[in-house]
Symmetry: C2
């Protein structure tokens, strides 16, 4: 801990805020259990798959006598999937809770994600080790990983690791998939009387793990604030130089929550919402037309600059692009030998156009060369096109530029268009958690401990009332099966936690829709600036516009 | 001002700190003038070109009776060139100084940079207009521009605008070129008895306008802190996921000050310093080898991840790349018709290789396809290769990847390498100025007013002792001619302010050099986090490592 930035030193001293009920002695925190619950859909199928953990009651922590307070428990923690700010504070909340319960209880970290519990790669968390990571970003404390924990063999490996280390509770900090796997693991342990409980925590910057119980996933707040800082800075630059259009792609996988939240925080000229594109079954061409329309209108006011936000998953929400990509995947797998004979880029393009359906070849032919090259060359080990690596922001700039040149030639556009591209993702996943995420994560971790302390399994830690000050937050647990339905995955019907996409009749999208035409043509930029950890509460403790609007 | 972010509202209330001597009544601030000065080189030539403004004394403001205090002056301000955080605070310092001098004095902003003074496009700055921009980033208050103010005709246009609006002083806020032009304009006005004084202010995020008098240019602090925030976040991500090498290109034109400062703030595995590459006359191939060497060493420790910083101007500092680019520029200009006959990318590449010298064609052939395509297609209106748009970060990733594949085939590398690319520039140029830049800029502006108040011309506003608290800063002015020498520009010998590149025997580079081998192989990342405007002084008022080391 010798070599630290000044902010990091200072953040160690931050004491995360807890809901009032969690502040007292563990002896005085008890659980209140509700009525039996049902899954959100496919109740019979889900019930059949989760014989031991289906229908559990919702749990809420209240003041009262806790008979289990001093019980020794040994806990193992897994960080699963992509990084999100606040993961270390979840661990801190668990750690402090466990130690407040009984100093002899232990907390272990499984290293490198789910692989750690399978391979028995773990580390005991000491007070010094814990202190080094309080209120810091990243998952570097114990590392993360994307391995799936889903087969019986893997469950047995996990069980063996827990038994060997006398671990009685496992906490999985992850997104919808990881929590789905957590639910299956909880059921497996229960069905096999393993004596190991499993509790989840809702993590993802993408914001797509939320529902009527879970108000937001952790990390979304900090990541969106970091991206919005940068978007605001770029907007100010665009409005100063008045000569560039900045196209900014934002991480967030399939869902456009991040784009929407950033748009509400910064008021850019354009923000594409994938879910709306899909609902309207828009073509790539019409998406480009919509952008061109804004560029032309602004240009007529003398404003040859602007900012457009592009969600990472856009391509997959444009039906015709989906057709093209699946044809390419099939074609290049089946006719790989024939394709290999097409030498040079120009020949390869001809080959593709001759082999695909008209719909697909038309779209392919309309794409800029660089993107065609990406589709042909940048494939994963299974030969599939790597959709997430397609530079959508460049694709749109080139297509917009081409259309504007045509309009200019036809005398319908007299402005200028210079596009610059950006992609923000890794910049925000490991920021120091905002005060909101620091507090929320610590509370989630502390609540996860209380669930384990009560011997509950198959739950996700749940902290609600998040639009209020932390003292008024409500802590409890929701049965994982309650958030499940059956969905097709790789050709099989599986029980999964439903992923939350942007709802077009939800308050955040409606707010955006009501304002976007004005933002498009006028320059109404907001400049959120860097995340502040110190100073007045109205700057430091604010959470997202999405949450505020959804709770209104 | 209806629709503002919480931080923006709060920043309006920030009162920038001033050196103690500037805090009092303008009546009690007087100027102390030193001995006559000389230019740094070519004294006879510079003196001959600046008959009226050569040899002026250094000015320093001290307590004392100011006979000029209440004099009415009307000032016009120009923001010149690329944005830098704090420009609005320079204007605020000028404005408050001018109004403290005499309420009847006026401040005008020339709109859109130097074009504004030439075309008579200006706006009077009212108290409300000024207040809207205090402590904000960007140049959007009056806009900026890159027009050069250098011909007699342009000087006459500027003179006419000033006379028409009764403006008696012009302030140019800009980098080395803009201040050079300011010096010539000051001389022109003096030689023609125009009765208009000219004062400059040292602006540029690139950090290359500094010398024995000017400790740093404004904006460098905020921009580097913003980039370092992002680099730190990405380092944390790299160290959490442990599977990516992030190659981050940083703005900064020719000089590598930004890269060096960010490296000192974040301790990445690799930071290339262009000035060192040039001094060693390294080839592109050997630059790639150096990177490969670090990747292999880290991989041997099981660390298949890392972060490398790449300065924007690198390509121009690699001698053989410079040869290639100038050959391409000549060739494509002279033999454009013949080139046009080469149809398709593969034919074009063959054509280039057949037409260039062996040295150039060897380098060209070694480049990845995407970069070859950029060199051939992405040319400016004069047909020249757009060096600044070459994606050096991608170029290096592809070349490193290729070498590692060869090493792997030879059994000399058993790790993995996945490169991700980033470019940071626009993200930091318009951030809310750090407290340091907010204070420094306000002081520079206030000092610029005092220079004008004393009737001085051909000076640059100068605030020194910047490693000390603001109260101990020393305010004054340095004659612009004092920082000049003669250099070849577009085939002519011209008087210019010398650009400061990274000095390989300077303290910042030495500090980097002493540590970089350790940072390369170990994971010694620092995480600076977001710029803090509130909270303890050790976090909020710190300036750059570069300045601290240079002043040590």
């Amino acid at each position: 801990m010798a070599n630290l930035s000044p902010l990091q030193k200072l953040r160690y001293e931050y004491q995360p805020k807890l809901p009032t009920v969690l502040k007292g002695d563990v002896k005085n925190i008890t659980v209140e259990l509700g009525s039996p619950t049902e899954s959100i859909a496919n109740q019979a199928e889900v019930k059949d798959l989760f014989k031991k953990t289906y229908g559990l009651p919702v749990a809420k922590f209240v003041e009262g006598t806790n008979e289990n307070a001093g019980k020794v428990i040994n806990v193992g923690v897994i960080l699963s999937g992509g990084q999100a700010p606040g993961g270390h504070n979840v661990i801190a909340g668990i750690y402090d809770g466990v130690k407040n319960g009984n100093k002899d209880s232990k907390v272990f970290g499984f290293k490198g994600g789910p692989a750690g519990i399978m391979n028995g790669n773990l580390v005991e968390i000491t007070p010094e080790f814990m202190d080094e990571y309080r209120n810091t970003g990243g998952f570097d404390m114990i590392g993360s990983g994307r391995d799936k924990l889903e087969s019986t063999e893997q469950f047995e490996m996990a069980k063996a690791t827990c038994e060997k280390n006398n671990i009685t509770s496992v906490i999985i900090i992850g997104g919808d998939d990881s929590n789905t796997n957590g639910a299956v693991l909880a059921e497996y342990f229960a069905a096999n009387n393993a004596g190991i409980t499993v509790v989840g925590c809702p993590k993802t910057i993408d914001g797509d793990l939320k529902n009527e119980h879970i108000e937001t996933s952790f990390g979304f707040d900090t990541a969106c604030k970091t991206y919005s800082e940068l978007i605001g800075n770029i907007q100010r630059d665009a409005n100063s130089a008045k000569k560039y259009w900045h196209f900014i792609k934002l991480m967030g996988r399939s869902a456009s929550h991040i784009g929407l939240e950033c748009a509400l925080q910064t008021q850019p000229n354009i923000c594409i919402i994938s879910e709306e594109i899909e609902a309207k079954a828009q073509t790539l061409d019409s998406v480009v037309d919509d952008i061109v329309d804004v560029v032309v209108k602004r240009s007529q006011n003398g404003d040859n600059f602007g900012v457009a936000l592009i969600p990472e998953g856009l391509i997959e929400f444009i039906p015709e692009m989906n057709v093209l990509i699946s044809e390419l995947n099939n074609l290049l797998a089946i006719e790989a030998e024939s394709f290999a004979k097409a030498v040079g880029f120009d020949e390869q393009v001809k080959w593709i156009i001759s082999k695909t359906t008209k719909a697909a070849s038309d779209v392919f032919a309309s794409l800029p060369k660089g993107i065609q090259a990406q589709l042909l060359m940048d494939r994963d080990p299974h030969g599939n096109v790597q959709v997430s690596r397609i530079e959508t922001e460049k694709l749109l700039i080139e297509m917009v530029d081409k259309k504007l040149n045509d309009l200019k030639a036809a005398g319908k556009f007299s402005g200028s268009f210079n596009g610059l591209n950006h992609f923000f993702g890794y910049e925000g996943r490991c920021a120091f958690p905002s005060n909101f995420d620091a507090d929320y994560c610590y509370s989630l971790g502390y609540t996860a401990f209380l669930l384990m302390n009560q011997g509950l399994t198959g739950y996700i830690s749940n902290v609600k009332n998040l639009d209020k000050p932390a003292t008024e937050w409500v802590a409890g647990g929701v049965p994982l099966t309650m958030m499940m339905n059956m969905e097709q995955r790789h050709g099989h019907l599986k029980p999964v936690i439903k992923k939350a996409l942007v709802e077009l009749d939800g308050a955040p999208f409606k707010e955006f829709k009501a304002n976007r035409d004005e933002w498009a043509v006028n320059t109404s930029y907001l400049f959120p600036g860097a995340i502040q950890y110190y100073g007045p509460s109205e700057v430091c403790d604010l959470t997202t516009r999405t949450l505020a609007l959804e709770k209104k």
